[in-house]
């Protein structure tokens, strides 16, 4: 039970400190109070351009809180959050430009059901558009070419642009939500358990797409319920009771580290850790 707290986080920041670019996301000693225990307790991490990082931990470990801090939804009580080296902007206009570079894939997708696919894709541009274009888009969906291009990038037929979102299948909806993310052109991609409610085939498909999209200068931070899906990630971060347990390249992650992370947690989590364990011993590189 106690190992989770005592094990020292192994922090390995590989490449991009040398490049001189500020990290896409940096958290320094972040505290978020909770009702009894802190939801995040002295958490620090860096996310460099091009990095694909998985966030692991049992239920209630603070994964969602961390992601809410990372996308600016939640301001920490203590500590600093830096996006590309900049703290949260003071002025509303600059703040919006900052937010526009943070893209979140929500578990419930948060598509606007009453609008067409194209209007939904364009909703990601609202931060950059003024009122006239925002209103016109509701009358006559704008920028068809750019929208068609993101759909094609995700292997979707541009014919879908005119369709209402309600007419899409589950898999199509996932991809449209991803397309909207692309249309936003963020540098930081965040996803909170995007695979949780998906069937295995769809989950794998979506994960591969997300990993593929996280090319420099973009970086991906994704919380994951299933350690067995760590394959394509560069780094894994283990969280437990709001604290960092490990932060290391996936290749060096060992099975016992995972088992420690999930020890005493929900049986389902433990099962997942055990299932992943043999692979973990050999590293996850496909």
């Amino acid at each position: 039970m106690t190992i989770g707290h005592s094990s020292t986080p192994t922090s390995l920041h590989s490449s991009s400190e040398a490049s001189g670019q500020p990290p896409v996301l940096e958290l320094r000693d972040v505290h978020v109070p909770g009702r009894q225990l802190p939801r995040l307790d002295g958490l620090s991490l860096r996310l460099e351009a091009g990095e694909r990082v998985a966030l692991l931990g049992p239920s209630g470990a603070g994964k969602s809180t961390l992601l809410a801090v990372a996308n600016g939804l939640l301001a920490p009580r203590r500590g600093a959050v830096l996006w590309q080296g900049q703290p949260r902007a003071r002025s509303a206009a600059r703040r919006r430009r900052q937010q526009a570079r943070i893209g979140t894939l929500w578990q419930d997708l948060r598509l606007i059901e009453e609008l067409s696919v194209q209007q939904n894709l364009n909703a990601a541009r609202l931060a950059r558009w003024g009122w006239p274009r925002a209103l016109l888009n509701l009358l006559w969906p704008l920028e068809s070419e750019a929208c068609a291009a993101v759909l094609r990038r995700l292997d979707l037929d541009p014919v879908l642009l005119d369709q209402p979102v309600t007419a899409l299948s589950g898999g199509q909806r996932q991809r449209v939500a991803l397309a909207r993310l692309l249309r936003q052109e963020p540098t930081l991609l965040l996803a909170d358990e995007p695979l949780a409610s998906l069937d295995p085939r769809l989950a794998d498909e979506l994960l591969q797409l997300l990993l593929h999209l996280a090319q420099p200068p973009r970086a991906l931070l994704l919380s994951l319920h299933r350690p067995d899906l760590l394959g394509g990630f560069d780094r894994a971060i283990g969280l437990r009771q709001g604290r960092l347990v490990f932060d290391q390249p996936v290749q060096t992650l060992r099975a016992d580290a995972l088992q420690t992370l999930y020890a005493g947690a929900d049986p389902a989590d433990q099962f997942a850790a055990a299932a992943a364990a043999p692979g973990a011993a050999n590293g996850f590189r496909p």
Binding site: R97, W131, A134, L139
Partner: protein
Amino acid sequence: MTAHASIQPAPPLLVLLPALVVLPVLLALPLLLHGGGWDLIGQFAWAALTPCLDPLVLRSLLNGLGVTVGMALLGWALSLVLGLSLGLLSSRLLWRTLAGSALPAELIRRLLALPRSIHELIWGLLLLQLIGQQPAVAVVAIAIPFGALVARVLSDLLDALPTDGLDALRAAGAPAPAALLTALGPPLLPGLISYGGYRLECALRSATLLGVFGLGGLGNELLLTQQSLQFHELWSGLWLLLAVMLSLEGGIGMLRRRWSMPRRFGLAGDGGKGRCGAAGRRGREILLVLTVLLPVLLLVARGLAVDPAALLHWQPLPPVAPQGWAMALALPWAALVGSTVGLTLLAAGLAVGGAPLLLLLLAPWRWGRLLLQLLWAFGRLWPPPLTALLLLFVLQPGVITAALALGFHNLGILGRLLLEGSEATGPAREQALLCSGTGPRLALLYGRFSGLARSYLAYGAYRADVILRETVVVGLVAGSGLGSQLRESLSAFAWDQLALLLAVYALLTLVGEDLSDRGRQRLLGAA
């Protein structure tokens, strides 16, 4: 290569379309100003912060408030009794189950359209002519149209219930009345209680309004203080009324939530499922409240000295004015009907479109929402004729002035509904947009109004129908439409004109009701 469908406004845009009437109104306003009266408006505004606290004035206002609340309560209770019995009588399902034919239900429905289509103010003024000034007039005036409305809602609710349970009980040999009560009572009650609560709010507004036209209570005092420019006293009355109205609305809302009753017109984007989805709870409490209500009503009736017997003493009508039917037919009918319809459309546009527009404009500020809530509360409690009189300080009488007054009142009702609805839709999509850097206004427009649009506009269509009925209220003051002509004919004892005017007015509201029903069905059907 990406073929476009034709131009079609998306839901969030639809919500803003009615607000387009703001443009012509704003353009016309400078022409309507008659130059004077701004000092009065200034005094009026200042008086809001410095209401009169003289005990004598307050006692008189409180007396008036008591009478208004009493009239509202009694009128409401009587309308429920009337509405329940008439509603059962006009239910197709009931007649089919008990008598084998739905024909009588159809007949009663048609007949009930008449009392429903005529505004309580007209009923009040007619009764005033017939039986003279007495407290029972306002009570009956409220009960007649409200009862017919409750009857319609009840029979619609009844006939829309699934009948599987009823069929099963009947097949098992249960006698018809017992089967009806068992199968339809429980699913019916929540919707009915919820609607009843809403009607009480309406009754308070109506009782205040009737007071303005001399039927007693606070409305009368408000009118007198406004006409004598005693704004400080006027504001004492308004603040008192606001307190009563907000506590009534709050109390009804609390009971509704506590008893898990459905919202009256849930805009939660659940496509109206809330109405039957929520089941009633705490039956004992409900029963207790109903039991307590009866002696309270009796006490109120005694306090107001309501004498049912006096209703039967009709005064002899003054003789018909000698001009006769030719004169009645010579009225400028086209202009009268035209201005009434124009007034309705303008006021409806201002109210339906104004609420989302104001919400969008003030979205970035936290206090903006509070400010709007206060503004809308005043809109609801303030009888439109008083607003019209206030506007007449600076504007010339006419359709636009009347529409502003009527629009402001209905804006209060629609605004509250929109705000409740937008809070009930949940923040998820708006939050997602905010997180991607969208500004607060566009996030509200895209994130919240998308889901609300259809049900809000459907309610707006219903409201437009109510506004058509209410035109008579401001027409009497601001000199436009059928309302003002009605008043003239009434005071000239031209009964033939009056009968014709009422017939036209009733016809107009019935057509309006039909149109608004169709509009609503189209909006909800497309969702």
